[in-house]
């Protein structure tokens, strides 16, 4: 029960003033006295045995303290499988694989020395394509896969390059396909994408003389970093302290372990001196981790009336040299394959496959954007083929709260959300059915399209969160949580939740803006759009706990039964006798009687979140309950396609999500708009490009284009539906990733709507679209070229 007014208000994010004044401190800004500089030396071969590493010349550079190699730190780490060496051991697996690390007194010295490390290789056969890599004759990247420890939820196949195989079996898909009137059969390819967070990966590590390892790192999940390091290096958890100051963007790319273990070992090996590693942008592109490429093959069967009977899809994920999160991304891609629809027969095989390319990891959306790209286009194409309005087709197949079972066999709770209302709102805001405004030129086309999506966090059943409500002497509150703070503003939403619990103003609740595993309350990770839900629930329970302690104490003091007492408006209120109310500040540190007797002590409220009903997924059929909530939503766009150049410009962006409860509409809008921009940028522009040796050939922002102000739509509509979920904090569900998932599909559907052109591959950059127009609708291109006059609305103001 909340009696306050903060929830629902567009409260300014707590850390905004630090950001606009440039006083927020990031790991990039941190160093401690005596910090040494580290520089990576990376492989020039995609797959090769290391025959010799000669560090003599590099060690001779003045100021160089050490040149470390894989032999110096024989530990393997990994998110779900221990497949990763800290520095290459025995062989290199991709062009850009770190083989050595120089540690020096100066950055110049480290850079100069890094040029002088001499490495000799014996070339090995390579494989760059994930489908090729699955074949029995493909060269093996991880011959020792069978020896790697791995989380039980995953199925690596030793003797192959398959890091994980996930299978989903729901109903009888072959029968469903046979009974269908129309079958859509297509292949889709999604390119590798880079998170391109603005603050590159960087770490300061100090292995101290007492055996404690202190680390400052730009990461999303300090507790998982600690866990992996502790397990891999064999150190007690409380001897590792991970600190995260402000983080300059994560987007899943900093969700797990980055370079922390490596830099920590370096600190130890140089005699317990602090060491800092900052990745250059090129290194982040080439040696860090990207989002995986995907090849998807789908067959979907529909009845003439539009009902989807069967959905059969195979995802092959190009996981790169190390699989990291990608085994789980592939799993999530699989169990999310059916999206918002109730499909009686679903079959999915999802493979995460090693190739001699850059390692991959989680990215905002966690596989859902990729499976959405397939699903939502299949449904759109089915609508066209059957001659049914897209909206009608969608509505007919939507999952029904309280009734439907998902493809993993989960019966949807009644308060799971309202996909019909989401669709209705989306279509209304888009103006579906109303003609688009005329295009700006005769060789351009304007059209509308939409796509739906749904997601919940992909977390293990025991992923928990905890919170501590700590009062200060003036009854202001310090809320101690673990959820990270790198742009989503969750901490502000949490302070709103807590403020209302006590009926105090939101300024009187403070959440620390940085994290420290030795001081912050535990949360599993800050990923998966879980933060508000899990840490919010934990925070509310901590408030309940604190209130119980407060009313118990007040009851004692006032000699009034607890049920006649209530904490609100910053006081313990007595029903019917307001003159007996006690101010919180007079009780949260114990109560002092007039004669000095004291009862009670500092109130510390504690609470946790754990999910009760989520399960492991059956290893053969994928059946189970994978997640704690399902946020339904969708994206709609009005686009303008330039038929002459293939450029797509989004004119209007609509995002609608059933968030349960909008704790902070401003934060919500920021996620919806920001997620759209990121999703649009990925849909239209972004592609990590590789040459035939697996080198990333565009490891910079001129070759890897990210949307700028000039690329955004003129109009943004951010709307939300509120169907409260009773076990969410004030009814709220998560949103962080959702706003990215259906963006690409919506854009593609708009193009299909207007031209019938199918775009199977991402990104839909101008050249790709032009080719598609040429191949599929050459008549449109010819007509456009004929009417092309070259007069454009000027994009730039000439000075």
């Amino acid at each position: 029960m909340s009696n306050g007014e903060a929830v629902g208000r567009a409260v300014t994010p707590q850390d905004a003033s630090l950001k606009v004044t440039g006083t927020a401190v990031y790991t990039y800004d941190c160093s401690i006295p005596g910090t040494l500089h580290a520089k990576l030396v990376t492989s020039t071969m995609p797959h090769a045995r290391i025959t010799r590493i000669d560090t003599t010349a590099s060690k001779a550079v003045p100021g160089v303290v050490a040149v470390l190699t894989g032999q110096d730190m024989p530990f393997r780490v990994g998110m779900y499988a221990g497949d990763r060496d800290l520095l290459a051991v025995e062989k290199v697996r991709w062009s850009g694989h770190p083989v050595a690390m120089v540690v020096a007194e100066t950055l110049e010295g480290a850079e100069r020395a890094s040029e002088l490390v001499n490495i000799e290789y014996e070339s090995l056969p390579t494989v760059f394509d994930p489908v090729e890599a699955m074949k029995p004759e493909a060269p093996l990247l991880h011959e020792k896969m069978g020896e790697y420890r791995h989380a039980p939820a995953f199925n690596p196949i030793p003797g192959t390059n398959i890091a994980n195989k996930f299978t989903l079996i729901h109903g009888d898909v072959e029968r469903g396909l046979k009974e269908a009137d129309e079958v859509i059969d297509d292949e889709f390819v999604v390119s590798h994408v880079s998170h391109a967070y603005m603050e590159t990966q960087n770490v300061v590590a100090h292995w101290m003389r007492d055996g404690t390892v202190e680390i400052w790192t730009s990461c999303q999940s300090p507790f998982i970093v600690r866990q992996i390091m502790a397990e891999s290096l064999g150190i007690p958890y409380n001897k590792i302290v991970i600190k995260t100051p402000f983080v300059g963007g994560g987007f899943g790319g900093k969700a797990g372990l980055g370079w922390e273990a490596l830099v920590a070992m370096a600190s130890k090996l140089v005699g317990c001196r602090p060491v800092k590693l900052v990745l250059s942008r090129k290194e982040n592109f080439s040696s860090g981790a990207s989002r995986e490429g995907v090849v998807a093959h789908v067959r979907a069967g529909f009845k003439r009336d539009g009902r989807c009977l069967a959905y059969k899809v195979r995802f092959v994920l190009d996981a790169g040299a190390y699989a990291d999160y990608t085994v789980n991304v592939g799993r999530a891609m699989g169990y999310s394959a059916e999206g918002v629809y109730e499909i009686p027969n679903v079959y999915c095989e999802s493979y995460a496959v090693y190739t001699n390319k850059i390692p991959t990891t989680a990215m905002r959306g966690f596989g859902y954007a990729e499976s959405n790209w397939v699903l939502e286009q299949v449904f759109e194409r089915a609508a066209k083929k059957l001659g049914i309005d897209s909206a009608v087709l969608r509505r007919m197949n939507l999952l029904k709260p309280g009734e439907s079972h998902t493809a993993t066999g989960e019966k949807l709770r009644e308060d799971v959300g309202d996909p019909r209302k989401v669709l209705q709102t989306l279509l209304k805001e888009l103006g579906w059915g109303e003609k688009s405004s005329p295009p700006s030129q005769s060789w351009k086309i304007r059209s509308k399209g939409f796509a739906l999506c749904v997601k919940g966090p992909s977390q293990p059943p025991n992923a928990s969160a905890s919170a501590i409500v700590k009062f200060n002497e003036d009854a202001t509150i310090d809320l101690v949580v673990g959820t990270g703070n790198f742009g989503q503003g969750t901490v502000t939403a949490l302070s709103q939740l807590v403020a209302d619990q006590f009926g105090i103003s939101v300024e009187r609740v403070r959440v620390d803006l940085t994290r420290d595993t030795s001081k912050s309350a535990y949360t599993w990770q800050t990923v998966g759009s879980r933060g508000l839900f899990t840490d919010g629930t934990a925070s509310l329970r901590a408030c309940e706990d604190a209130k119980r302690q407060i009313t118990d104490l007040a009851s004692q003091v006032l000699r009034i039964p607890g049920e006649q007492l209530e904490v609100s408006e910053g006081e313990v209120k007595v029903k019917g006798r307001p003159w007996m109310n006690i101010r919180l500040k007079d009780i949260v540190f114990g109560y002092v009687y007039p004669n000095g007797n004291t009862v009670g002590g500092p109130i510390i409220g504690r609470g946790y979140f754990s999910s009760s009903l989520t399960t492991y997924l059956d290893p053969t059929t994928g059946q189970g309950i994978p997640t704690i909530f399902h946020t339904f939503g969708g994206t709609a766009v009005e686009v303008e396609l330039d038929l002459v150049t293939g450029s797509i410009e989004v004119q209007k962006a609509v995002q609608v999500f059933d968030v349960g409860k909008a704790i902070n509409p401003l934060l919500l809008r920021m996620q919806l708009d920001g997620g759209f921009v990121m999703g649009m940028s990925i849909a239209l522009f972004e592609q990590v490009k590789f040459d035939d040796q697996g080198w990333v050939v565009n490891p910079n922002f001129s070759g890897y284009y990210i949307a700028r102000m000039k690329d955004i739509p003129k109009e943004f509509v951010a709307a939300f539906v509120e169907t409260p979920q009773f076990d969410g904090p004030m009814g709220a569900r998560g949103i962080g990733e959702l706003s990215m998932i259906s963006v690409a599909s919506a854009i593609s559907n708009a193009i299909l709507e207007a031209t019938g052109i199918k775009l199977n591959n991402l990104p839909m950059n101008p050249e790709t679209v032009w080719r598609a127009i040429k191949e599929q609708r050459p008549d449109l291109l010819t007509k456009a070229m004929e009417s092309y006059s070259g007069v454009e609305t000027p994009l730039r103001v000439t000075s």
Partner: protein, 290 residues
Amino acid sequence: MSFGSPYFTLPEFTYHHPNNLEEAMRLLKTHGEEAKVMGGGVGLLAFMKERLMSPAHVIDIKGIRELKELKYTSGIGLSIGACVTLAEVAQSDAVKHHYTALHEAVSGAADPMIRGRATLVGNLCEAIPWVDSPPALIALGGAVRVNGPRGGREVDLGNFIRGPVDIDLQPDELVTHLVLSESPPSRRSTFQKFSVGSEFSVASVAASVVLGRRREVRLVYGGVSSTPLRSLEAEKVVAEGEVSEAMIQKAAHVASRSVQCVSDVLASADYRRHLVQVLTTKALKRVFER
């Protein structure tokens, strides 16, 4: 394009800041191969960070007064000193009216912060395939004035860029000015480019047409190959044909067939050829509609 620096620091060098041209020339003569001239420094420092260049001496010419002048003299032409920035060129009314293609090329280049530092001469001397000003300059016609120990010389703009990052300039020489000849009143010029989803122009064209009984035409393409390329075949179509839709379309077709485009990380040759057709159409329509 495929480079990217793993380096945060610059290699070591001695920085020089001559106050006058003689001093600059003396430094160049002394250090020759070991020296690089710095104008805005945008290009040079980026190259140095990637260790594509590691000169032992950097000669910053921004302090030399006579190199800062942009001067248009009616009847003579335009003189742009080596230290004139892209922003200054973009702001010049004279350039806008008489050398429109150049105005359009620099106004849309990079971003305002880069334009405020990068010099036009430096831009030209970089001779990077994706840079916008060389095609415009070649289309408009002119020369670079070079100063050196063997005396001064002028190099026609059409010959100055020999290849990617390869110009007709000796290590002990300095480009002091860019001079564009007087623009005939009947000349129309424009610069058009395509750079959606890219910082650099995937393809561009600079067109210059001197109207009259005998049309003088230049069509110079940038971003499609390792150096700016002219299409003499397309120029011929424009010079000889009657002004009409059909002539423009024909010229555009001919250009797309005659310009040798490359495939690289930004785009394929196929697409570039298509863009050549599109941009030629656009440029010619603008030129003839003015």
